[in-house]
């Protein structure tokens, strides 16, 4: 395979950028409450071979759907146009540069104008090998009024090997299109995971990005959604179920750059045992983005007395005629709720589990795609079976 010249140059620059950027410290707002120790990748090397399988249904004419490398060869021009156009802004600039310099495997999906892909496209990533870093990339572009959905699964080949995955997604929803993306992170408990998601929503488009975290000893999710055109709508959804000593660090950014746009964020964390979560969200409404509706909700369900939840729900509003709200709560299951179920013959431990399950399910219900919702529910149940 021959790498296009522009791409080789880009990677070389990215490597230099990676080396020049400083390591984050907790003094930086974007790493406040974060666990910097997890960023020590000493002894880790990029994996030699990716282990990714694509399940591609019969696709309408014109749809391009192929592994990232193949696209680099066959659709170099499209990639040049869309590949990692923006520098991430949520703290992992250094690791995004590392990803750029080492990207290997993943999905390239292009849906032309007015084409609807009904069946979801499924991608399976399996982390394998000890002390290996994988750098999968997902690039999805929808043309005018196009429609597509993608299910991205991350798992480990076995329970022992400590892996590291630095994944970047670019979701570009063209005018009036509908783009739904669902990532299920279920890697083993010795691995670490960094996911950097960037969604761009053009005029009249609807983008939904859902991330489920049940695996990894430490996961950092950075999700940014930029609303570029009137009538754009973005749903940012997440469901996390950390247990044991798992730590999940979530940073989100809803950027309203055009008037008459709306975004809705719902993050549900149910924390078991000694789990720890950090949620830091920001809604930014640009000066001219009047008539913005933006909502941000993070709910933490504390299942044990040793769990820790940190929330930093932020707003920056520079426009007029906006409706914005954010809310964050941390609480446990009330005795009344347990009592209600017990009165109906359900034993307490089962009642607690049912309520926690229902709590997590609320974010899943908003995906609005049956296949993806079912996959997410199954992953949630897999996690609960271990608790």
């Amino acid at each position: 395979m021959t790498t296009p010249a522009w791409f080789a140059e880009l990677q070389e620059a990215a490597q230099a950028e990676y080396e020049s950027l400083p390591m984050p410290t907790r003094k930086i707002e974007s790493w406040r409450f974060g666990n910097i120790k997890q960023l020590d990748f000493e002894g880790f090397t990029p994996e030699d071979q990716t282990n990714i399988t694509l399940s591609i249904p019969d696709l309408p004419e014109g749809v391009i759907c192929m592994p990232f490398e193949e696209a680099l060869e066959k659709h170099s021009d499209l990639l040049q146009q869309y590949f990692m156009r923006n520098t991430p802004r949520l703290g992992s600039e250094k690791f995004a540069a590392l990803h750029k310099a080492n990207v290997k495997g993943g999905l390239f999906l292009y849906v032309p104008d007015d084409v609807v892909v009904e069946t979801p496209i499924e991608v399976n990533h399996s982390l394998s090998g000890s002390n290996k870093i994988s750098f999968p990339h997902t690039l999805i572009i929808t043309g005018k009024n196009a429609e597509v959905s993608v299910l991205d699964r991350f798992s480990s080949a076995n329970n022992e090997d400590a892996g590291l995955c630095i994944a970047v997604n670019d979701l570009i929803a063209g005018e009036g299109s509908r783009l739904t993306y669902c990532a299920l992170q279920e890697v083993n408990l010795t691995s670490r995971f960094i996911q950097i998601n960037e969604t761009t929503v053009e005029r009249g488009a609807t983008a939904k990005a859902f991330t489920l975290n049940t695996g990894a000893q430490w996961a950092r999710n950075e999700s940014l959604s930029k609303l570029n055109g009137e009538g754009g709508h973005s749903d940012m959804l997440s469901c996390s179920i950390p247990s044991g000593t798992q730590q999940f660090d979530q940073r989100t950014f809803q950027h309203h750059a055009a008037p008459h746009t709306n975004s809705d964020l719902l993050y549900k964390n149910s924390l078991h045992e000694n789990a720890k979560t950090v949620f830091s969200g920001l809604i930014l409404v640009d000066e001219d983005a009047h008539y913005t509706d933006a909502y941000q909700t993070c709910r933490n369900l504390m299942m044990n007395d040793t769990a820790e939840a940190n929330s930093m729900p932020g707003l920056e509003i520079n426009a007029d005629q906006v409706k914005c709200s954010h809310g964050s709560t941390s609480a446990t299951i009330s005795d009344e709720e347990i009592f209600y179920l017990r009165a109906r013959g359900i034993p307490p431990h089962k009642a607690r589990r049912l309520i926690a399950l229902g709590f997590s399910a609320q974010a899943v219900d908003k995906i609005g795609n049956e296949v993806l919702e079912t996959a997410a529910f199954e992953a949630i149940e897999r996690k609960f079976a271990t608790l």
């Binding site: 504390m302 820790e308 939840a309 920056e316 509003i317 809310g327 964050s328 709560t329």
Partner: protein
Amino acid sequence: MSYDTSTIDQETQDAISVDQAKGDFSFPENHKFDAGVGLSSDTVDYISNVKDDPDWVREFRHKGLKTFLDKPMPTNWATKDLENIDFDKIRYYLSDGQKPKRSWDEVPPEVLETFERLGVPEQERAFLAGVEAQYDSEAAYSNVKEELEKDGVIFVNSTEGLKEHEEIFRPWFGKVIPTGDNKFSALNSAVFSGGSFIYIPKGLKVKHPLQAYFRINSENFGQFERTLIIADEGSEVMYMEGCTAPKFETATLHSAVVELVAMKDAKIQYITVQNWSSNVFNLVTKRGMAHEDAEIRWIDCNIGSRLTMKYPGVVMKGERARGEVISIALANDGQHQDTGAKMIHAADNTTSNVISKSISVGEGRSTYRGQVHIPKNLKGCKNNTECDALLINSHSKTDTYPAITVRGNQHVTQHEASVSQVSEEMLFYMEQRGIPEAAAMSLAVNGFINELAQEFPMEYSVELKRLVELEMEGSVG
């Protein structure tokens, strides 16, 4: 129907400047002691010499200076505007060398006239139990009603407090807010002067409020008062502070440290109406420590200053302690009100409540910054935080940055924030009923803060509403 919200008409401008003019006057300087311009260890020694500090205070100051110089500006999270403070151009100590007077008759005429114009003696006669009036670095007047003195209430300035009442003062001084808490608490520790020391004896409930008024008269001046209030077991006190400064061309710095200690069952209410002129950097650290069953309430209203950074806090150290912050901020053109609250739960069954309402007018920016912390091994802690922001014009800005840490599953926290504006429908409705636009706007805004304004003592809430009315008038042009 549309409103041109970009201009402020002349009438409004007049209305606003009338109000600002209340504090916008100054007298020629008459200082016997002047620490000069800039800050060094000589400045600190000069202040210590003039005040005849005991050795432990002198040491405390030098340690403060070192910490101040070592600490970076917090611009990693705070506004870059902080970089515009030129610490080498500020005068750190100015006084006429007089002791605070017990009677207004003995106060120098221009100082008396200053406070007369600000209405301080009049308020004292009307409803206050005691008053301290600070002019630049030192208190010019300090008096407390005789019967309170007989009951054992101490209400003096900090210099007198640390000298005459060391046995009560020293154990708590710098304990609620350590010198190194932040760069500005360190600066205050180095050059503090003035402020109040209050002690309320066991079981005494002081009916009328005590008041302090802080006045800056001199240009390029930095005011660094230090207040320590100790309410002994079962006592209650309400303390109010007001402040103004003339509008100078150059920046003025006000950086206070206020520490409150509420012993078992005690209750402290601390009320601030901040109306500094728009050239003042107001960087204040305020924190209270509430012991078992004690309650500390900060009622904080910020209308003036160029940049205010102030996050009153309560450390709930004893079981069932309560902490509350009620905050109103109004940011007009050229102003940034960066305010909030800090609630540290350090015992079981402690509860805290934060209610913040901010209004941004013209190009004003208001920010809520909050911290709620519930550490390990506690149970039954509750926090409620509500932040509402009102944007008046298309260039007005508002931000919210809370941080909430909860460990364990035996607590309840909730945070809610909303941003809205006065709707055109609401204004239209009122105009239809013959209420002029400006008045309608003012009514809507007063409605927004009304619930909180009622938390202020009546005399203040009337004043507050009037201030808001003036600041708001005609902002919809």
